[in-house]
């Protein structure tokens, strides 16, 4: 019984990783590629580590397997966020079929400043700061 569960988990994890690799190869731009790899690869690692914990069935090994799971769950979104942010700032092209880019009208790539989108004429004027050069 445990053999069947183990085999299913290992195969499902491997297939999710293949899915992530297919996504990174076939999808059109950086953000969609990240959307494929981050989630599918993390799920693949989680399933395989569950299979490892089932296979050894010892407390020490299961603790390490769950440590890997928690580590992946905590770091995969952070890494994806950081790379996506850097990719947008570097100016990677979005797919031609992109429907909406909410950051485009509010972000100024030259000054690296982001507007909130709530400015009126009055408060959009730039206030002089105390450390400005005269």
């Amino acid at each position: 019984m445990i053999e069947v569960v183990k085999g299913t988990l290992v195969l499902a994890g491997a297939l999710f990783m293949l899915l992530a690799a297919l996504g990174i190869l076939r999808l059109p731009d950086l953000l969609t590629r990240m959307h494929a790899t981050t989630k599918a690869a993390a799920l693949g690692v989680i399933l395989i580590m569950l299979a490892v914990a089932l296979h050894f069935a010892e407390v020490a090994v299961a603790a390490r397997a769950f440590a890997i799971i928690i580590f992946v769950v905590m770091t995969a979104p952070v890494a994806a966020h950081v790379i996506g942010r850097a990719g947008y700032f570097v100016g990677s092209k979005l797919w031609s079929g992109t429907v909406k880019d909410e950051l485009r009208p509010n972000y100024d790539p030259l000054t690296h400043e982001l507007k909130s989108g709530m400015e009126t004429q009055a408060n959009a004027k730039r206030e002089p700061k105390h450390n400005d050069p005269p």
Binding site: L11, R64, A65, I68, T75
Partner: protein, 89 residues
């Protein structure tokens, strides 16, 4: 069980090849960084499957280290991209 292990190893090797194609072809540096991060994840999975196959639990320590290195490499590359520096991609 042996056939299942072998099959999953073949599937993950195929995934590594596909990710490597993206590393070679990737039009910009961020694409390559994403592909290299996927590399790290797939290798963690391969090490886990290998630990099951060989019945040696110590391989999990290597998996932990590889996951850590992948994360730190992604952070470092992103910082390099944002802070600038000479790029040729």
């Amino acid at each position: 069980m042996d056939t299942v292990i072998l099959l999953s190893q073949v599937v993950m090797a195929l995934a590594l090849i596909l990710a490597f194609v993206r590393v070679v072809r990737g039009p910009s540096l961020p694409d390559r960084v994403v592909a290299l991060e996927l590399f790290a994840s797939i290798v963690v999975g391969l090490v886990g499957v290998y630990a099951i196959k060989m019945d040696v639990s110590s391989f999990l320590d290597a998996a932990i280290v590889i996951a850590l290195m992948g994360f730190l490499a992604a952070i470092g590359f992103a910082r390099f991209l944002e802070r600038g520096g000479p790029r040729d991609d």
